[in-house]
Symmetry: C3
Subunit: 193 residues, 3 copies
């Protein structure tokens, strides 16, 4: 897969924006928004790395933290002028979840873990940050609320990634298919709401 880092950075930036919006709804100030952004964007990958006994990904490449800080502060400033289209953001979030989940699946796979664990770690990477965001904002996590197919979508995409590879499809094609499934199912869900 070409440019996996560019994808990771894109997912990180999108999650930072969604976190600042959530913090705004709770009337947190700049620092509260930045902390929520850091936790939301790094939470999933950090729990994955702790479980896999890896060095947290943001230790080895400080670019992630810098990206989150810059994006979060910029978002806070922009929000004073105008509010972004809710629709645009949900689409960006769909892409972010797709990128993070399959990136988590690839890392779990590289550790030689069985398919079921790969799917669980992909789901953790894609959703745990948002779950932390909701717990810190003192709400029942979006992931758990009835009617949202958030979690199912991630599990479906990660499973497709694992199953395609077991059928002989190359890793990069399987990753692309998994990401497309997650992003498109999310967008269908958004369009129907």
């Amino acid at each position: 897969m070409i440019l996996p880092h560019a994808f990771d950075y894109a997912g990180t930036a999108v999650f930072a924006v969604s976190a600042v919006l959530a913090a705004g709804r709770k009337q947190l100030d700049l620092l509260g928004a930045v902390i929520i952004a850091l936790v939301t964007s790094t939470g999933g990958g950090t729990l994955r790395d702790l479980l896999l006994n890896r060095t947290p990904f943001w230790f080895t490449d400080t670019g992630y933290l810098v990206t989150i800080l810059v994006v979060a502060c910029t978002t806070v400033l922009v929000l004073r002028w105008r509010h972004p289209s809710e629709r645009l953001l949900e689409i960006a979030d769909a892409v972010g979840v797709a990128l993070f989940s399959i990136s988590g699946a690839r890392i779990a796979e590289a550790a030689g873990l069985p398919g079921l664990i790969v799917v669980v770690l992909a789901t953790i990477t894609g959703t745990f940050g948002g779950l932390l965001r909701d717990v810190l904002c003192n709400e029942i996590p979006l992931l758990l609320r009835p009617g949202t197919i958030y979690g199912v979508v991630v599990i479906a995409g990660a499973t497709l990634y694992v199953v395609l590879q077991s059928l002989g499809v190359s890793r990069d094609i399987a990753a692309l298919a998994g990401m497309l499934l997650i992003a498109s199912l999310r967008m269908v869900a958004i369009a129907r709401n």
Copy 2:
């Protein structure tokens, strides 16, 4: 101790059932219930393994996740026909906590840690999953609420396990005594409420 794995599986299944019931009270749907079940059943053992720098127990034996998935889905289905006796469930939960706590104590002991740390890790293994369940359901954890002797019971059982061994009692007998103390104290507490 013969069949420690059978005990672990039994504890896992019981916690999954209790989690689905808690999710039902919050009107979460199937996926929400399954996620709460996964977190409740694996949370305590996972934090113990992270602290001990061990590979999470559910990485090496996927039977745990399969058990939780099957039990959680079955429970959701059964709940459509009839509700289980609250009393029966509390008894099952008492047995689950007893099994998990002493299993945690044994693993901490195998790592050569002092008695106080063994008791703390036993308490974490037995209670952290339920604490996460309550935090995700946006409630003050049962473990912390006044009048519940949940935590004291686990600490007492783990302490008995450590003290008996220091008095020369064999590990298996001490484990049995610790588990019996936890299960029976919980049942006394349930009977009195």
Copy 3:
């Protein structure tokens, strides 16, 4: 730095007192108060140690847990006679945060991490315990609430510690300066409220 352990113990004790007071406001009983005290006092350092793949600091020196248990129980007893001055406690808390944060910065630095990560780990060490305390008490964390400069202060102190060293100031002097900045800024904030 002479007596870093004495500082760590002091910070631990102060956090245990603040946790028991928070538990009292939520009408938790003795056990709830002790558990909140354990989580608040050890939470920041434990997450730091997990991220750095170190053995949790309270495994190797059981003195921390004993200190927390003794201080928490004593505080519960004392609270029956009289309530401590709120002002006195906030000052003690300011000192505790200062000690913990810079202690976290020193450990991160010893692991050879870049300055930005040192500041993040100092902030985690100084604030994560209090954040857990607020989540367990089912409140939006103090750290995130608007108007509190809690987090900014810790970041400023840790940054000063890193910057002074990069300018050639000795580690111990830089640590002292960082701690003084955190403690004094907190006290100014307290005095103005």
